[in-house]
Amino acid sequence: MSLLALAGCDQGKKSNLPPLPDINPGGVLPKDGAGRPLLIQVAGSALSLDFSAPDAINALGTCADLLTYCVDATRTLDTCMAGVTVCPGKPAEAKEPCCPQKCVDEYDKARKAGTAPIAAFDEALFGAQSCLPDARQLAGVTP
């Protein structure tokens, strides 16, 4: 029996996972010349934050946060994966935090094969069969 089926979650449907905490680091961080929040700046080098042009890697980040923030003493990764909001279309264009159905499927497959939860999560999101292949491709990760 699929873990997803256990949770009764269908593709494109919204679940009752806890909402993600807001990220608003710009409030207190200094800004760079382009008005972006700075994590650090020294003599022309910087690490800034730019939320303006989300891509497939941002979508991967959102999906990952959705799942990892969910896990706590009362919710296992299995529970969270089974209850995750599934993206109705392209993850990068989603209006709400979500994960592609393939994440759930790949995770489920790995779990059924005896893989431990964290390793199954790693495999499903970041592995060769990543549920966000566009992110993996953009990052230039080779199999």
Binding site: N58, D65, T68, A139
Partner: protein, 608 residues
């Protein structure tokens, strides 16, 4: 495009473990407590730092050494400023745009200048933050020992662009390997010192200073070793930072590609380590209290250790928080660090024969094998590693904790200083950086939730970052780094490689009194004659003649018998080399029983 020195912003702070400092003083040769009128080193890298004292605000490593010395009960005299006379050649070196006389030791019979290096042993605990190794310091930071780099000495020693990116050896478990290597060198050298002292016993206390100089050199090696031990007990270093101490181990087709990768990794490592050292100085941050984990006190930051269990800990910039420094907290962390450090120091001091006076360790210390797991098995917990992935600061009375979670790190844009100004890293590097960092922080969050007191994350369990392995991969390499100090003896035998010979010779020339036995053996009749010929050359410019005479006297007196020749000389005043080397060469100079051998040697050298 060449990456300039400032590109590794994050790297600068993280690399400095417990803090190190560099200052120039008007009275640079004074005792540490008497140094006055400090000025910050400029530039704070390369040859300038080799000429300075590493004493002043922020010298946490030195303070740890001095506290350890007190606990181990070594006499205060081992902390005194040593003045090392170096015989150098005619070259100048660029220091902050100015040409200054080189500090590189030259062959004694070719000395054209003398320079004085002033240092106390405890300062050398900061050496790995300023130098690649002790021979690098001995050579005045005037070369670039980092294989794969061809930059000038100042760039080569720039912390942000060169030393920081390869400082994975300041993090566990690689720090263990470096401690063991240097501690073993220190003990071996101390044992040589004991042999020297045994040979000198028939001379009474006449040459005790020679054996004591040797002991201080052994302790100098231990000071370098203890940098890595001290780092191992700084909370920000209790995890497997990715990377190697060798630049050539990083992936890339060119040195610049390897360095770019090394720098980006250093940025992330600095983030995890805690970035107070860098952020606190920035204009936008000076009004904040950047209390950034892992080093800053944090309610969820703890170490896990076989004996100590799970216990809170702090690191760089927060030495004063330790119980041993008046902080009244983090006592388990301090007690274990203190016992490990004191045990290591005592092992060296006892091996050399306690030549500055008997050690009287204070009560309460544990005797521990200093290179054992008891001193190096501590690791940050998974919960601590998750807390590391954040920027923490207090603004007024409000504490801000900005999590570097998967969404946040997916939006990072790294830009690097370059010859063309500030430029973004390549798209390929940026995207891979974001992807790998998302994976890291996500897995850290899951491990923290599943096993908060576990150490899977700190043990390198998350694998590679940007194609670079956690530092434990490099911990058992036969050659830890291309720039580590050479094996004893110094100078090296003729069968050694040229690099080992060059490096060991530089060390033996700097610590030439400590190496009196080696030089007594190496200085034959021809070498003595060469010293004399150089010194007696009245055609030399005065300054060069002075240097030549100083070298001739320094080494000649060790071989000088007072008399007319092998048959008639004062056997009650045998010179140093008589006791150290049975086959030593001798020179002879007539004199009375009351004549100072130094004065007689000066006469023999033909010096005015």
């Amino acid at each position: 495009m060449r990456i300039l020195t400032a590109l590794a912003l994050f790297a600068a702070a993280p690399a400095l473990a417990w803090e190190s400092t560099c200052r120039t003083y008007a009275n640079f040769d004074a005792e540490p407590a008497q140094l006055t009128a400090p000025t910050a080193c400029a530039p704070e890298k390369g040859p300038a730092t080799a000429r300075a004292r590493w004493v002043g605000p922020g010298d946490e490593h030195r303070r740890l050494w001095e506290k350890t010395r007190e606990l181990a009960g070594l006499p205060e005299t081992v902390s005194a400023t040593q003045l090392l006379t170096v015989f150098t050649g005619p070259a100048d070196v660029t220091v902050g745009g100015r040409g200054l006389p080189s500090l590189r030791p030259a062959a004694f019979e070719q000395a054209t200048r003398t320079q004085v290096r002033a240092v106390s042993v405890g300062e050398l605990t900061q050496l790995p933050d300023w130098s690649y190794s002790l021979f690098d310091w001995a050579e005045g930071h005037e070369t670039c020992p980092l294989a794969g780099s061809t930059e000038n000495p100042e760039d080569c020693h720039d912390f942000a662009s060169h030393m920081g990116p390869v400082n994975a050896n300041h993090f566990l478990p690689l720090a263990t390997s470096f401690y063991r290597r240097y501690h073993a060198l220190a003990v071996a050298r101390a044992q040589e010192c004991a042999q020297v002292q045994a040979k000198l016993a028939p001379s009474g206390a006449r040459f005790l200073v020679v054996a004591q100089a040797c002991e201080l050199e052994a302790l100098a090696l231990e000071a370098v070793a203890q940098h890595y031990l001290q780092d191992a007990w700084s909370m920000g270093h209790m995890w497997q930072r990715w990377g190697s101490p060798n630049l050539v181990d990083f992936p890339g087709a060119t040195a610049e590609e390897r360095r770019e990768k090394a720098v980006v990794i250093a940025l992330v490592s600095g983030l995890m380590h805690g970035s107070r050292s860098v952020l606190q100085k920035l204009p936008g941050w000076t009004g904040y209290d950047v209390n950034d984990a892992l080093c800053a006190p944090n309610p969820v930051v703890q170490l896990s250790h076989g004996d100590l269990g799970v216990t809170p800990a702090v690191g760089d910039n927060y030495l004063g928080a330790l119980s041993g420094f008046g902080g009244g907290a983090y006592d388990p962390q301090w007690q274990k660090l203190a016992s490990c450090a004191a045990s290591g120091m005592l092992e060296v001091y006892r091996a050399s024969g306690e030549l500055h006076g008997p050690a009287a360790p204070q009560g309460g210390l544990q005797s521990i094998q200093p290179g054992s797991d008891a001193c190096f098995s501590q690791r940050a917990t998974n919960r601590a590693m998750l807390a590391a992935a954040a920027v923490n600061m207090r603004v007024g009375s409000v504490q801000f904790n900005i999590p570097l979670d998967a969404r946040t790190v997916s939006s990072i844009v790294p830009t690097l200083a370059s010859s063309a100004g500030s430029v973004p890293v390549s798209d390929g590097t940026r995207h891979r950086f974001r992807f790998d960092l998302i994976r890291h922080v996500s897995l850290a969050r899951l491990h923290s939730a599943e096993n908060p007191d576990g150490t899977e994350v700190a043990e390198g369990g998350l694998g590679q970052f940007l194609g670079v392995s956690p530092n434990g991969t490099y911990a058992s390499a036969a050659e830890l780094a291309t720039y580590v100090d050479p094996p004893l003896p110094w100078p090296a035998p003729a069968s050694a490689t040229q690099a080992v010979k060059d490096r060991s010779t530089a060390l033996a020339r700097l610590f030439h009194r400590a190496h009196a036995a080696d030089w007594c053996a190496a200085t034959d009749a021809a070498a003595l004659q060469a010293l004399k010929t150089h010194a007696s050359n009245a055609a030399l410019p005065q300054a060069e003649r002075d240097a030549a005479c100083a070298a001739c006297v320094e080494f000649g007196v060790r071989h000088l018998r007072v008399g007319t020749g092998p048959v008639v000389y004062d056997t009650a005043r045998e010179p140093l080399c008589h006791f150290l080397v049975p086959t030593a060469a001798f020179v002879y100079q007539m004199g009375t029983a009351g004549d100072d051998p130094v004065v007689l040697t000066r006469q023999w050298c033909g010096c005015p």
